[in-house]
């Protein structure tokens, strides 16, 4: 560790943020204590409230970073169902998952941060999706797609990274693509 930077405000802030991101993704809001974050960041507990105000605000900042999801939506209309299918399939049958998405799903039952979560889901998934969809019932179709995306997170949460024991990865993607197509078409 760069001891010369130990007493640098911004460096410490970043260490806390990094530790919080990892821990919130792994255990969810309720089950991560500020003491645990401080220990992992090798920082003093009091600094968390000094730099972020409260545990809640730290969580908000963790979720506020530009996650991977916007990248998923940056494809031509024709490829969108396929892209969403790949995203969900990856979460359902591998151990790779976006830390932000993981933290979101693992924290969904903490009422005190519902506002933060709702805002993140709206701005990262729901609204961009609604804007892209043409035809009627855009909000409904976007909501169903969102439900499928978050639902795959819950399934993974309960059944582990290999929620779907499926040797044929292409079959998973293909099935999901068909579903997203039906979901997103006007």
């Amino acid at each position: 560790m760069d001891e010369g930077r130990r007493r640098c405000r911004e460096d410490t802030r970043q260490r806390i943020l990094t530790a919080a991101r990892r821990l919130f993704a792994e255990h969810g809001y309720d089950h991560v204590t500020v003491r645990l974050i401080a220990a992992e960041a090798e920082a003093n507990i009091a600094l968390i409230n000094r730099y972020f105000g409260s545990k809640r605000e730290l969580f908000a900042e963790v979720l506020a970073v530009q996650g991977r999801f916007p990248g998923v939506l940056d494809v031509p209309d024709e490829e969108l169902p396929r892209r969403l299918a790949e995203y969900v399939a990856e979460r359902l049958s591998t151990d790779r998952s976006s830390p932000v998405m993981e933290a979101l799903v693992r924290s969904s039952s903490s009422p005190e941060i519902h506002g933060i979560l709702r805002q993140r889901v709206s701005s990262a998934i729901m609204e961009p999706l609604v804007e892209r969809l043409s035809g009627g019932d855009a909000r409904l179709r976007a909501a169903i797609a969102t439900a499928l995306i978050t639902g795959s997170g819950t399934l993974r949460l309960l059944y582990g990274p290999d929620a779907v024991e499926q040797p044929d990865r292409e079959a998973v993607v293909a099935r999901l693509e068909k579903i997203f197509r039906v979901c997103l078409e006007p």
Copy 2:
């Protein structure tokens, strides 16, 4: 209150169970305290551990009751997609929802009860669905359907009982039915 029955073990047990079911459905496992359950049940705290062993075991017993979900699956194959669609639509756009399903979604991020939740999801949704599905990839298709069902719960959790502001209820059901059809067909 029937004062004559106040000192009846079975009666008290039932009051605790009823209170727990309501509270777990409303706030989830983590955010319900045994003191709260005891207060709502008008029973002493110590009786919860005496009659159920622990908070965890009480939760298990709440979830073990025959919920409404099995009824959803008791329709002919041809009507199944429609039935599932109605179930999800009801959760997405009304304030009616099964207490068991509600408790399940609201408690999904408590690792200490993941085993209980997984078992409930498996026995109430996943396995009955797999058994009904013919053709290949039955497990995969059942898993996707389950993800959509639990995902609608998460959406409702975040956005409230009117997660989908859709005046035309039939449009919601119709769209969901199409999706479930694609999901469940071989």
